[in-house]
């Protein structure tokens, strides 16, 4: 799993992500994220990296739910 900066235009990507969620209900946002996760997982295509990312995402959850 690569956790060093790898996105060429981080601010541009984040803006596009926020833009994609704009005006969506909570449920529609969740659906969008889920489709995005699956598409990105297929780009990665490496089982060990996918599982490491899954683990890292779980680990990064804030201690107390906000």
């Amino acid at each position: 799993m690569n956790t060093e900066p790898n996105i060429p235009d981080p601010d541009g990507f984040y803006a596009a992500l926020v833009q994609a969620h704009e005006g969506l209900s909570e449920a529609a946002s969740a659906d969008l994220n889920a489709r995005l996760v699956l598409l990105l997982a297929n780009q990665c295509g490496q089982q060990a990296v996918l599982l490491a990312c899954l683990h890292a995402a779980q680990e990064a959850a804030p201690a107390t739910p906000t």
Binding site: A27, A30, D31, A34, R35, V37, L38, L39, N42
Partner: protein, 558 residues
């Protein structure tokens, strides 16, 4: 209210109870092998043994075939099961009666989101799958058992108590003519999911029950539909829940509807309710008649060991999984084929008792895999949380456009012969070899299963052996008495020819580089060892390992 029509019930055979010697003043008989339960697993084992010339006693509490109260439980028979039936001589009958299929399609709403064709991976003489009512399969097996004449079939005989002794098991049974006792040196429990034998031995089953509910409708209609396996993840005509549709023998369709979790089994199986579901699916003008309506839930369980002393568990008595992918009855039949040849060799004094331990090691590993595979399908079909629904919606939405997401759509992964992990008898692990037909010296097609039909022996499939090497191996075979038969594939004294290297490729050999390699097939058609540049010594050693005579002291060459 519409009046729905039911077809007359199937006419099944009725087998007579014959009073055994024990009820005619004889002492408790001691039998080498007693099988309890004449379902697909028990019948397959009895038939496998009889085909090998081994006698057994087969006990069943009923006097007919099929499951009491159910029109048919199992319907899908996988290629490996059909190959076993081919070895037992009844595959043609089963295939002729059943409906062969290889194509599966999955729909979401009214759109196809996934399909597979099992024929793509087949080199077998048997089709990838047939659909056939379970009682027909059992019927054909009983007919075959009667023709072979080595099985003591004891109908209407219910086991009431078992007692394990040092070297045998004592059974109390009840019959229409009264109770009696018999003894088994080896007892096979094939009594199914609610095994009284397992219960009496107090074995942990690690059971879990699903809250998912389904309702089967077996029905005849004249509406033309393809004979493919169709599944809907979320059918518009079933309130967005799953539906299964396939054709069995006698023009009977099995349509299986997923129901709400809290559905009342009695209410959902009323003919009016089932009829309106069918109407919604087939349209207003299709005439139909019901054959059977059956609501069900499912559960799973798995024993820690499929062998406990002299008691062996096969089929549902040892393991139950959810029905997705047809891994129930097929697994039971494959348990039987795994155990049959081992029992035969031990019974005939040609292998040590420890060979029987490999039954549990191999088949339990298969069942662990089946449990994992079926649990994943069950979870896809019955999401447990809003988040799981979200993920599944994402998969289905993407699958409409993008091939990668279709692989995530899971309405059941069809039963395949499971690979076996490395073990004492299988240092390389093992995988099943399909029933290829190759031309013999006269050009007549010869299927591998037919080479395994007589007696109990391994097959040494030797690619282009030299005359000297083969003669030496044959001499060593005669000298050791080990159960094997050598078959030369090509070469100076070919028994069979593999002109297009279909067999070599199927066995995992590099095309053009198979000469001298011997592939050791067990009697259950699992590839036990691949021996490049095989000699008489390496062959005999591999054979001794595969039949439990020797530990694999040094790793066999790969």
């Amino acid at each position: 209210m519409t009046n729905y029509r039911f077809a007359p019930p199937y006419e099944l055979p009725s087998f007579a109870f014959t009073p055994p010697p024990e009820l005619q003043g004889g002492n408790p008989g001691r039998y080498p092998i007693v099988i309890v339960g004449a379902g697909p697993a028990g019948l397959t084992l009895a038939c496998d043994l009889a085909q090998r010339g081994v006698r057994s006693v087969l006990i069943d509490e009923d006097n007919t075939v099929g499951v009491r109260g159910a029109s048919s439980r199992g319907i899908c028979y996988a290629q490996k099961s059909l190959e076993i039936l081919d070895r037992l001589g009844i595959a043609e009958r089963a295939v002729a009666k059943g409906v062969a299929w290889s194509l599966g399609r999955t729909f979401s709403g009214s759109e196809e989101v996934y399909s597979f064709n099992l024929q793509d991976h087949s080199v077998s003489t048997q089709p990838p799958f047939i659909n056939l009512q379970q009682f027909y399969l059992e019927w054909f097996l009983v007919d075959r058992l009667q023709a072979l004449g080595l099985t003591d079939l004891r109908w209407r005989t219910r086991v009431t108590q078992i007692e394990t002794r040092n070297d045998h098991v004592r059974l109390q049974v009840d019959t229409p003519d009264g109770a009696y006792t018999l003894e088994a040196s080896t007892l096979i429990d094939a009594t199914g999911a609610n095994s009284p034998i397992r219960t009496q031995l107090g074995l942990a089953t690690h059971a879990s029950r699903s809250t998912d509910r389904w309702c089967i409708t077996d029905v005849r209609f004249t509406h033309p539909l393809p004979t493919e396996r169709w599944t809907w993840v979320d059918a518009p005509f079933n309130d967005g829940r799953a539906v299964w549709q396939h054709l069995m023998a006698d023009g009977v369709w099995r349509i299986d509807y997923q129901m709400p979790e809290d559905a009342d089994p009695e209410a959902i199986s009323q003919p009016e309710v089932a009829g309106s579901r069918l109407r919604a699916q087939l349209g207003p003008d299709v005439e139909f008649e019901f054959v059977w309506i059956g609501p069900y839930g499912y559960r799973d369980h798995l024993l820690d060991d499929f062998r406990v002393g002299q008691v062996f568990f096969i089929g549902d008595a040892g393991h139950v999984v959810s029905p997705f992918g047809a891994r129930g009855g097929n697994t039971g039949m494959q348990d039987a084929a795994n155990l049959g040849w081992k029992l035969a060799l031990v019974e005939q004094g040609l292998a040590p008792d420890t060979l029987l331990d490999s039954y549990s090691a191999e088949r339990r590993a298969a069942c662990v895999e089946n449990l994992q595979v079926t649990s994943r399908s069950a979870r896809f079909l019955a999401p447990r949380s809003p988040a799981e629904h979200t993920l599944r919606r994402a998969v289905l939405a993407l699958a409409r456009q993008h091939p990668f997401a279709r692989a995530l759509v899971n309405t059941g992964r069809m039963s395949m012969a499971n690979d076996y992990p490395p073990s004492a008898c299988l240092p390389q692990g093992a995988r099943s070899v399909q029933n290829l037909a190759l031309p013999d010296r006269q050009g007549r097609p010869t299927a591998l299963m037919h080479l395994l039909r007589q007696g109990t022996h391994c097959l040494g499939l030797w690619f282009a052996p030299t005359t000297g090497a083969r003669a030496e191996a044959e001499a060593r075979l005669r000298q050791t008495g080990l159960p094997a038969r050598l078959v030369a594939i090509g070469g100076p004294e070919a028994d069979l020819h593999d002109p297009d290297e279909v067999l070599a490729r199927h066995l995992g050999l590099a095309p053009g580089d198979s000469a001298g390699t011997l592939c050791l097939l067990r009697p259950d058609a699992y590839l036990a060892a691949t021996l490049p540049a095989c000699t008489a010594d390496t062959f005999i050693h591999a054979l001794r390992v595969a039949t439990g005579h020797a530990a694999a002291l040094e790793p066999l060459t790969t």
